[in-house]
């Protein structure tokens, strides 16, 4: 098959699955009104699939900081940190992340995806092993591939399965990087961190925890699952993203290992890409302060999350195992998921549709992401629509 024929085959498969004229993936958004509302076509919709957990995308402090940074330093850095230097904002944000986590050092990356690519490929290489949860995000899988290390998966959140694999490695467990996520992006459940840390210590491995979805969501000051469980010292490297709770774009890693800094010289996804723009850095710095002091935002977020989870659970929808801001409805077929997704959109609610092979174990998901900026009335309304759609979906 030629290169282009392969793409035609992909297009044909997608066309067979999806109804004509429905833009399911990359739906055009015409106008954005707030952290939770926008216009699709001529319809006002509620965002219930973005990862805007704390609703900070329109926070006045962040907008102001971004405006000022553009005026002061321009629209872009037009180059990498390595070749074109580190602006004061990049350096300050790295210090602020390190302080926030009470860690020795921090590095900022251009996206969260690149943070994982950079960290995994910087830490592990040919001859090493990466031991990853089966439900890991694509950035983890891609980082592993880029590293050239041997990639071994364990069953999702199953620490005895993980330990079995470490045991099989023998001495090689010492050159093994274990990777888990604070909150898993697909089903919204949390990693059994205490168990993972215990096992990784017993086998002298290194642990990287991706707090992409748990930053701002878990822990007293919003650091994530490590803070929530009091295990920050047991995790070697914490990565995360600016693109969810911090409402911008970029990624980070913090650690107490002094070697973290060396990644700046060896990690290709850090070296060979332009650094984050001044506006991005400035709004992220403002958002990080709001996140740290965001006890009230977290309370509202969790109240909304529990409310919607309990309602959908009560309606008989099959959900991920644990309540949280990522609420995944697990459906038996892509057709069913598509019907639910379309039904919600027809009622002005825009959520994520995840079809195989992107969904775990070949399932189809309709995934809601709750925000602190949602109101209790909006969660009620969403619950009512799910109740109404139930009959037609499961008939």
């Amino acid at each position: 098959m030629s290169l282009l024929d392969k793409l035609d085959a992909v297009a044909a498969a997608r066309k067979a699955l999806l109804p004509e004229g429905l833009e399911v993936f990359g739906t055009p958004i015409e106008e954005v009104y707030s952290a939770t509302e926008a216009r699709i076509g001529d319809r006002r919709i509620l965002f219930l699939g973005t990862n805007n957990y704390l609703g900070l995308t329109f926070a006045p402090e962040c907008l102001r900081a971004a405006h000022e940074a553009i005026d002061r330093e321009g629209t872009g850095t037009t180059g990498s940190r390595m070749a074109n230097g580190s602006y004061s904002g990049h350096r300050a944000l790295e210090r602020e992340f390190a302080e926030f986590y009470h860690c020795q050092s921090g590095i900022v990356f251009t996206t969260g995806y690149q943070a994982n690519l950079a960290m995994i490929s910087g830490l592990a290489g040919a001859g090493d092993v990466v031991l990853i949860d089966g439900d890991s995000h694509a950035s983890v899988y891609d980082g592993c591939r880029l590293s050239g290390a041997e990639i071994i998966r364990f069953r999702h959140n199953d620490v005895s399965d993980m330990e079995k694999r470490l045991k099989r490695l023998g001495e090689r467990s010492k050159s093994t990087l274990i990777i888990a996520e604070g909150i898993y992006s697909m089903l919204g459940d949390q990693a059994p961190l205490a168990e993972i840390v215990r096992v990784k210590n017993a086998y002298n491995s290194i642990l990287l925890l991706d707090e992409a979805h748990s930053l701002g969501v878990l822990g007293k000051t919003g650091q994530g699952l490590a803070e929530e469980t009091g295990l920050t010292d047991g995790v070697d490297f914490i990565t995360g993203t600016f693109s969810k709770s911090l409402g911008s774009i970029g990624g980070y890693c913090v650690s107490n290992h002094p070697q973290l800094d060396q990644l700046r010289y060896v990690s290709r996804p850090y070296i060979f890409t332009a650094s984050p723009s001044p506006a991005t850095i400035a709004s992220t710095r403002a958002a990080l302060k709001l996140l740290r002091d965001g006890t009230e935002l977290r309370r509202q977020l969790w109240q909304n999350s529990r409310q919607l989870y309990a309602r959908l659970d009560g309606l008989g929808y099959r959900l991920g195992p644990q309540p949280g801001p990522v609420i995944a409805n697990i459906l038996d077929s892509p057709q069913q998921a598509l019907m639910l997704w379309k039904g919600l959109l027809d009622h002005g609610i825009y959520v994520n549709l995840i079809l195989p092979p992107a969904a775990p174990e070949g399932k189809a998901l309709v995934r809601c992401s709750v925000s602190a900026a949602h109101t209790s009335e909006q969660m009620d309304h969403v619950g009512n629509i799910f109740a109404e759609l139930r009959k037609s979906i499961f008939q």
Partner: protein, 84 residues
Amino acid sequence: MSTDYNNILSRLCFHLKQLSSPDVVIVPETDLINELAIDSVKLLSLVMEIEDEFDISVPLNVLADVQTVHELANLIYQIKSQNK
């Protein structure tokens, strides 16, 4: 090849039978993706079962090169003999 290999092959065929339609005949040359319609997600869960059964870990990297039933059986055989 050794009986070990044959044993692995027959256990593998047993697992594959469960995943494919009853009228398909599975031989060593059978193509996992094109003939048995085993997609990447199914293949990964099949591999987990096999890993348990043979007490091995199959790295994802090498799995990418596997196309036929024989290649998968041989891969398991190789990993198993390395561990001895």
